[in-house]
Symmetry: C3
Subunit: 256 residues, 3 copies
């Protein structure tokens, strides 16, 4: 049904790996490198030229790299200058501005908007409609839920651009806001609709506006089984994670 | 101006009713059934193949049904496996994932994202940019305003998937969040920016984070006429509702 | 790379100025007037017909005017009936419904949704994913940050349609909601995640849900230099503003 090679445009300066499928109406611009076994669905734009393109007749598109086994769902716009690791997957209508460095096995959901100059580790999951401001630093195994916003301007509008930092294994629930320069430690849980305006240490459970630490994530009992505790979540969730099948402790031991 | 039959692709396995208009650049995939008098605007995708399509050479697209007199505005993506009732209307860039059952006379606004496996009654109005998580159950005559999120994972990330339930005639105002497993009764009003983390009975007026019942909807005086009360809203609003012209009481009597 | 004249459709009833670039797959409908030196990127729709088009065989598209030197990034949908001033710029996937009057040098970010019948002054900056309800009145030099919502129905659902009013130089931070009929004075700062439900005077610093005045913007010390104050911001930010290079006081003197 898909991949009929209708209205596809691929720059002669792009490099397309083996067994790559490219959907109808998709455009691949100059200096895009797509590694093997990727799927670029319909109506995508990969390597969107930067703003300078419109004014500078000498403009050259920076290199864009898409790791192997990645899939971009339809209508995604990926600017030039991104380095995206292997086994990436996107939802529909994702917008990824220029010059992000995104690790492997990341997933960015429908309508999410990555503003550029962001670093993201491996195995991150951004659900639908997440907004990541420029200069954000996102660790590994981080989950950002719908309508989460990471900001970067402490005095809007100003010329200061200092993003937030999210530690490994941390979870930010729906509609929460991380204010500029904030550092969230490892394995924290930011509850729904929280506004985080200061730093928090590892394993903090953060609630409210402004967000306060009301305990540690280890205090949270499982709703399914009140005898059990859910966090650190790595012991209770492994779908798509590198410790899948093996278990977190065993994996950690083998990967130290 | 529209409907020039340019770059339209309709699967030979789709069934298109009488007097259906299909916009330029629109794709209709296998086993889509579009009933009479529908309008599918430009750049839409109806019957988007599920994820399995990319890996399974034996993949068959499930049936998608679009009821008569429906209109989908441009750039909407409707996955396969949806059953959508008559007189549906969508805004632009709506994303409807697979296997929802949506009643008749519903309206889903621009950028809204229905995650799949949702049931929705009749005459619901979802405004722009509403996010409905999997396994949500939405009654009849429900209004969800912009940036409302219905969630489904009580311990993110976990393998539990238990959506919220919204009763008939309930109204959720802008930017509110309904947490997993929550049941909101009939004819409730959830104020703007509320985080609802527990169940509420019929006609509750719910405010705050976490949401508290501060009275019933019958306490709210009309701003237009302080002698009058606005809720239950069915007595004061009938545009597009089945009791239009007839009045709510009369309609109820005739439809018991 | 862009502007290959592929699959472009321009109505013979549209008027296109000098040195206008129109991207691939873009549609320009009847009675659109695009002034000189504009760039309309790929996959845009300018002059989208109003709802009446689908039912009324006598439908005539109202005039749409796009001021000179404007740029619309890809996948933007601009309805017919808009009057947009010079040097406008949009992000991707912007939706602008009918009959707004938008001043000059405005910028509307990716995914933003302007619902129609809005007035907006000059030099406004709407970042990504801002939702502006019908009948909103936005002054000059106003900044609206991601996920801000301006609403218009005091008793949802009702037939009342009374938008908010935002004074010149006011700043609304991320995820804030302005409730219907609210008037925000000039040079106010609405903090992140605030719900504004009443009027505020000029230079108010507004925080919380419901929003309260906790001081004036002149109380806020600069994070970069604690000896200095950032607001009124016009003295500390001039990028893209008419007082750039000259300074705010000097510009004000010369433009009285």
């Amino acid at each position: 049904m898909k991949f009929n090679n209708i209205n596809v445009r691929i720059s002669p300066l792009a490099t397309i790996g083996k067994n790559v499928k490219i959907g109808d109406n998709t455009v691949i611009y100059d200096h895009v490198v797509i590694k093997d076994n990727c799927i670029i669905c319909n109506d995508c734009v990969i390597g969107e030229p930067l703003n300078d393109y419109y004014n500078n007749p000498e403009y050259t598109n920076p290199v864009t790299e898409i790791g192997e086994n990645s899939i971009f769902r339809s209508h995604s716009i990926i600017y030039a200058g991104n380095i995206i690791g292997q086994n990436f997957s996107s939802g529909h209508r994702v917008t990824i501005r220029e010059n992000n460095i995104i690790g492997k096995f990341c997933n960015i959901g429908t309508l999410s908007d990555i503003q550029g100059y962001v670093t993201m580790g491996n195995y991150c999951r951004l659900h639908s409609n997440v907004h990541v401001g420029q200069d954000s630093k996102i660790g590994n195994y981080v989950f950002l839920y719908p309508y989460v916003v990471l900001t970067n301007d402490p005095h809007p509008p100003s010329n200061i651009l200092k993003g937030a930092t999210i530690g490994d294994y941390s979870i930010i629930a729906v509609h929460s806001i991380i204010l500029p320069m904030v550092k969230i430690g490892k394995c924290c849980l930011v509850a729904a609709n929280t506004t985080v305006n200061k730093d928090f240490e590892d394993e903090s459970l953060i609630v409210g506006s402004p967000g306060k630490k009301i305990g540690t994530v280890r205090d949270i009992k499982s709703r399914e089984n009140p005898e059990k505790f859910h966090y650190p979540w790595m012991y209770n969730f492994e779908r798509g994670m590198p410790w899948q099948d093996e278990g977190y402790d065993e994996w950690l031991k083998n990967n130290m």
